[in-house]
């Protein structure tokens, strides 16, 4: 049982090639226990999205396997929810309907429960006034929030979030970071989260995986919880230890990339 | 010869692909037209309205249609086009095939008949109906293209079809089970369904020699058929994408090519009109009655026997 929890999500010797381009180089190994919040940090184009898509079942590994709860991940299913880098909402649904779409294929919720959940996440992302608006009528950041709310509403066990907060203002971002962290720890969700914001990474992560530039290799695996504990709040952000860690990681990250 | 070639007068002909028009092709193949200084080209088109449009525009010099087609709308006494000769007459090639339950024309009362209203069968039927004291009001006509009549006949609700050969024989054969038989045939109306050679009278006036030559070519070919049917058929068949055997079948029992002598007899002279004038008036009445024409046309204005009369047997040598 415990073992099961420990190797909940496993990357086993994974490689990925697109034609001649090697995106993930063998052997890529990573073991993520259940309920861990893992942040991927790495240079643009290194292969983070590709890894997420493979976990989600949208791409296939060229060699190696990704296992979830012991068995290889198949085609996408509702266990693995995804927030895409290009935050796509359905243009034919209103904001609220888009969020409710997240639960469309859940058979365990009553229509009423779905409606109230949808409204809850609508409020959570601050779009209460825009429930009836169509995606073509809202701003980029608002659209991104729709996608976040949709995936949260779906309530999958594994959340794959590809730069979900990229287009949000600092305020909204902090608020959603706190919410996400709360949901994750309360509901024991396993999260893979891509961001380019080191501060965000430290604030959210139990563990940060730092990637080299393409082909993706792990160059650092930082256990944040060991240093900062698992409680995250705004005060932490202004603390000395947070600031120091941030500087360290920035240094590591800077070293990953020899800019042309 | 080179100068003769340069002087070849183009004559463009329009007609449908009925075996009756074969003499025009054979005359071309045998070089009759060339020898007469004509260059004849043929276009195929079923629709009278298309032919009229072609003549109107001046693209077409000669149209070949039945006399009753000639009378139809939109012809008025002033519409260009005058008949100067005949090429063939239907002799069993048009008619009506009926179900076994139809013993005589009077049995058709209240029944559904499939046929096109602008084919000879329609006129023959009209003649027979009036003989039986009936008219088209007493039957139900469903419009159908002549070539589709055969398929339509497989529907049991259709009591009879009006069509032409080879569909008539085929219908009798395929639907033997229901006692299909030829109820009406053009064979019983000799000299009625006649294909005429129609030309624009102003063109005729301007250049009578060309049209006379055209007639000579046609009648030479008819004469060739009468003396040499096998060779004629061999030459004609490819123009209809038929084998010689099929072509022969489409002629025998269906039509007769009108020779120069027959044509001259039909036409008579300006002073002493031949029997075709009478046929014209009969058909005119029918066409006026069934609404296909809306002007009373005079036979005297519709025929010009002069070119035909000027041809002698010696010209065909």
């Amino acid at each position: 049982m415990n073992e099961r929890l420990q190797d909940y999500l496993v990357f086993d010797q994974v490689t990925k090639r697109f034609g001649g381009l090697t995106v993930v180089e063998a052997p890529f190994n990573l073991v993520v226990p259940r309920g861990q919040f893992v942040v991927f940090l790495g240079p643009s184009g290194c292969g983070k999205t590709t890894l997420m898509r493979m976990v989600g079942g949208l791409d296939e590994a060229t060699t190696g396997t990704i296992r979830l709860e012991g068995s290889p991940v198949g085609p996408p299913d509702e266990r693995r929810g995804m927030v895409f880098q290009s935050y796509s909402s359905f243009p034919w649904l209103t904001v609220l309907q888009n969020i409710a779409f997240g639960m469309r294929y859940r058979r365990d919720l009553s229509p009423k429960a779905k409606a109230s959940r949808a409204r809850h996440y609508l409020d959570l992302v601050g779009l209460s006034d825009f429930g009836d608006a169509y995606p073509s009528r809202i701003s980029g950041g608002m659209r991104q929030r729709v996608a976040i709310a949709r995936t949260l509403a779906a309530g999958s066990d594994v959340l794959l979030m590809d730069e979900p907060f990229g287009a949000l203002d600092a305020q909204r971002r902090e608020q959603l970071q706190i919410e996400l962290r709360r949901i994750q720890s309360e509901e024991m969700k396993t999260v893979l989260f891509v961001t380019h914001d080191v501060e965000e990474a430290i604030f959210l992560a139990d563990r940060i995986i730092v990637f080299s530039s393409r082909p993706a290799r792990i160059i650092d695996d930082i256990d944040v919880t060991a240093e900062l504990g698992s409680d995250r709040n705004l005060e932490l952000r202004d603390s000395e230890v947070f600031f120091r860690r941030r500087a360290d990681i920035l240094r590591t990250v800077r070293s990953t990339l020899t800019l042309v | 010869s080179a100068s003769a070639k340069a002087a070849e007068t183009p004559v463009s002909v329009i007609c449908n692909n009925w075996s009756g028009f074969a003499p025009v092709f054979v005359a071309s193949d045998l070089g009759y037209f060339k020898a007469l200084g004509l260059k004849v080209s043929v276009k195929v088109d079923d629709e009278q309205s298309d032919a009229l449009a072609g003549i109107e525009r001046g693209d077409i010099d000669v149209d070949m249609r039945t006399v009753d087609d000639y009378q139809r709308r939109p012809r008025t006494p002033t519409t260009p086009g005058v008949m100067i000769g005949t090429i063939d007459e239907s002799d069993g090639g048009d008619g009506v095939v009926a179900d076994g339950s139809i013993k005589s024309v009077s049995d058709l009362k209240g029944k559904t008949i499939a046929m096109e209203t602008d084919i000879p069968a329609y006129l023959l039927m009209q003649l027979e109906l009036s003989k039986a004291g009936l008219s088209y009001k007493d039957v139900h006509i469903k419009q159908v293209a002549g070539s589709d009549a055969l398929s339509v006949f497989s529907d049991k609700s259709i009591a009879a079809i009006g069509t032409f050969q080879p569909f008539m024989d085929q219908a009798v054969k395929i639907d033997a089970g229901r006692g299909a038989h030829i109820l009406i045939s053009s064979a019983s109306y000799p000299g009625t369904i006649i294909d005429a050679i129609i030309v624009n009278q102003s063109k005729l006036k301007a250049d009578p020699a060309t049209f006379k030559k055209f007639l000579i070519g046609v009648y030479k070919a008819v004469a060739y058929y009468n003396t040499n049917p096998t060779d004629f058929i061999r030459l004609a068949a490819p123009h209809f994408d038929l084998s010689a055997k099929d072509f022969k079948a489409s002629v025998d029992g269906s039509l007769t090519y009108t020779s120069l002598a027959t044509a001259q007899t039909y036409f008579g002279t300006a002073d002493k009109p031949g029997p075709i004038y009478g046929v014209f008036d009969t058909l005119m009445k029918l066409n006026l009655a069934n609404g296909a024409s809306d002007h009373q046309l005079a036979a005297a204005q519709s025929f010009d026997p002069a070119p035909l009369a000027s041809i002698t047997a010696a010209d065909l040598k």
Binding site: P91 | L52, D118, K142, V144, D148
Partner: protein, 267 residues
């Protein structure tokens, strides 16, 4: 004024409903006027192309004689039946072809073959199969529409962004649910446009269908008139078809704009 003209002619600009109607009526009347004048001065032979006013007069007479409305309704009914049948078949088949490679591989060559065939050559066999009643007429109209429509549907379904499909898949949608909730909804604006286009196409086959063992319908009226070269009646019938087309088309366009006003995807 010149400013208004300028803004009306802006690239992908907009035009008020009222101006649009004015321009549309203006251009139509202009054409009719040119035609009428050409007839008056004798450029057009009325035997082959009567003037608009003549056609209108004939149309009035024919309507008074009861030749138009009933036959138009009959034709409309046939078109609707055939078109609905085409759409009802083409939409699911097209969506499946777009979504499943083996299905498209199996059906593509057959569809590609059949859709090139000249309908008139297939009339006899369809009479044999379907008799001389309504079935043959509807079958011929269907034959002319279905095989083209199905390809347009495939194209529409192919244009649905893969992203939408992927979002739905990660939310646990099964294939038929993707078809219903994503492909169908996303392709709808394009599909309705293509249905509109294909409907016009279906009408062009009307004469073909209604000269097969027919005794009613606009196609029959036109063809009968044509046999007797009553060009004014032919053109009056043709006019009625054109007007029906124009009206359904404009109605469908307006419906489209209204239905998808919020999606902001297609103009």
């Amino acid at each position: 004024m010149s400013g208004a003209l300028h803004s009306a002619f802006a690239f992908r600009g907009s035009l008020s409903r009222r101006k649009r109607v004015a321009v549309a009526l203006g251009s139509s009347f202009f054409i009719l006027l040119v035609w009428q004048i050409a007839s008056w001065v004798g450029l057009l032979d009325p035997i082959f192309l009567p003037s608009p006013l003549d056609i209108l007069g004939t149309l009035y007479d024919m309507t008074a004689r009861g030749e138009i409305i009933g036959n138009a309704l009959i034709s409309l009914g046939r078109i609707m039946a055939a078109f609905l049948l085409s759409a009802v078949m083409a939409i699911p088949i097209g969506m499946l072809m777009s979504s499943y490679r083996p299905i498209s591989a199996a059906l593509e060559p057959i569809i590609d073959f059949i859709r090139y065939l000249p309908i008139p050559a297939l009339i006899p066999i369809s009479i044999i199969w379907f008799g001389v009643g309504e079935e043959t007429k509807i079958f011929l109209l269907w034959l002319g529409t279905f095989f083209q429509l199905v390809l347009l549907v495939v194209d529409d379904a192919n244009r649905v962004p893969n992203e939408y499909v992927e979002v739905a898949r990660t939310l646990g949608a099964r294939p038929y649910e993707i078809l219903r909730d994503i492909i169908w909804r996303s392709m709808l604006p394009g599909l309705i446009n293509n249905l509109r286009i294909t409907l016009g196409w279906c009408w062009t086959y009307l004469i073909l269908a209604e000269i097969v063992a027919a005794d009613n319908g606009l196609g029959y009226v036109i063809w009968t008139a044509r046999r007797y070269m009553k060009t004014d009646e032919v053109m009056a019938g043709v006019f009625v078809i054109g007007i029906i087309g124009l009206v359904t088309d404009q109605a469908m366009r307006a419906g489209h704009t209204w239905l998808f006003r919020d999606q902001g995807t297609s103009r």
